[in-house]
Symmetry: C2
Subunit: 213 residues, 2 copies
Amino acid sequence: MAHSDTVTRILDSAESLFAERGFAETSLRSITAQAEVNLAAVNYHFGSKKSLIQAVFARFFTPFYQMVEASLDMHEKRHPEVILTVEEILRFVSRSISKVSEGDRRRLAIFMRLLGLAYNQGQGHLRKFLQNEYRAVSGRVMDLIAKATPELKDEERFWRIHFMLGAAAFTLSNMEHLRAIFEHDFDTQCTEEDVVAMLMPFLGAGVRAQSGL
Amino acid sequence: MAHSDTVTRILDSAESLFAERGFAETSLRSITAQAEVNLAAVNYHFGSKKSLIQAVFARFFTPFYQMVEASLDMHEKRHPEVILTVEEILRFVSRSISKVSEGDRRRLAIFMRLLGLAYNQGQGHLRKFLQNEYRAVSGRVMDLIAKATPELKDEERFWRIHFMLGAAAFTLSNMEHLRAIFEHDFDTQCTEEDVVAMLMPFLGAGVRAQSGL
DNA sequence: GTATGTTTGAAACAGACGTTTGATTTAAGT
DNA sequence: ACTTAAATCAAACGTCTGTTTCAAACATAC
């Protein structure tokens, strides 16, 4: 079927180019050129550039969110009434991300970049899209974190969750650049898994810190 | 003097518009319209849009960096040989930021956004500009953090510093949006100082976390 | 095989962008 | 007052953007 082939090629190219350059900096012409499809194909299949961005996002996020749901369901069935720690929750999320972005590492970067961008654009269509489409799973993760940190006031937990989100989004979306700097500074390689392994205790200790109020 | 007036108005407008919308999304036409100066003035006084962005950055960062230097000098003179904790170092930095962005809160947001962007753009002129111009002060702060965390391996400290940077950059550059979400969720106001007060123990606990390797 | 609906293709569209030009005004120096 | 340099202005430049158009190619069903 010619249709889905073109659609897939566009999504693939858009994904990698968005990850490299960002969204505003990536033109439809560069996407269609790399995908070797006609320029008009984007507007034909997706309607607009905005919708293409959302489609790129959805293609990653939908299976990711289903995987988080499924693994949480499975765990709750096996160990009901068990309260997870923050690190364990993060590990559920991180494992689902790894599985969904299998092979292609850049999918993680583009996902995080989208997440950061969703907050960055003032009247952004992305955050609303995200909020409407995926309220369920994010709400569930929030509840788990709340149960993991009963000592925190709701207000302070709100901010700490966003501190975590910020550290993760910044690190993962700039992973390539940061690893390049690291390699330059230390003359050593450093895998993405290493970085994630270092990130998790940082975040865990952060949310468990003594209150700052 | 007509010159510096035009230059200042351009910088002011650019600063506020960059903070609101980002860089690629802000046109020179919107800047000059808000500044009520001629479109050509930007290229006349700054040369290019890139240089304007760097000028906006420098106007904030230069006094900030001098203030950090000065307050660190003063402290070291009064209490030589005293090893600062991470929170104390962060407080030095944060106080300098507050003093430099006196009155206008948006200057902080734009500064952090620039910092985040410096890492985001692949071949970015901003990171190199930053690295070349302000190597001294950032190196000094790095050394202080190193002394504050002697138990960390250099490699892991590198990453934790960037985790901190990410959490701070994300939170502060999206402060307005996040506060709006917060207000919507909790029906309560929340000052920027409150957020910074909550951020610092989060970062401090994060860098002091047990190693993840 | 003809008709129907879907997908591609090359080309053009209108608009926005950063930048440049050259004339005109403003300010400073002598 | 005259000269010279600096600053402003309106207008245009060429280029790139997302999007639209409409004919050609394709597949599908009868």
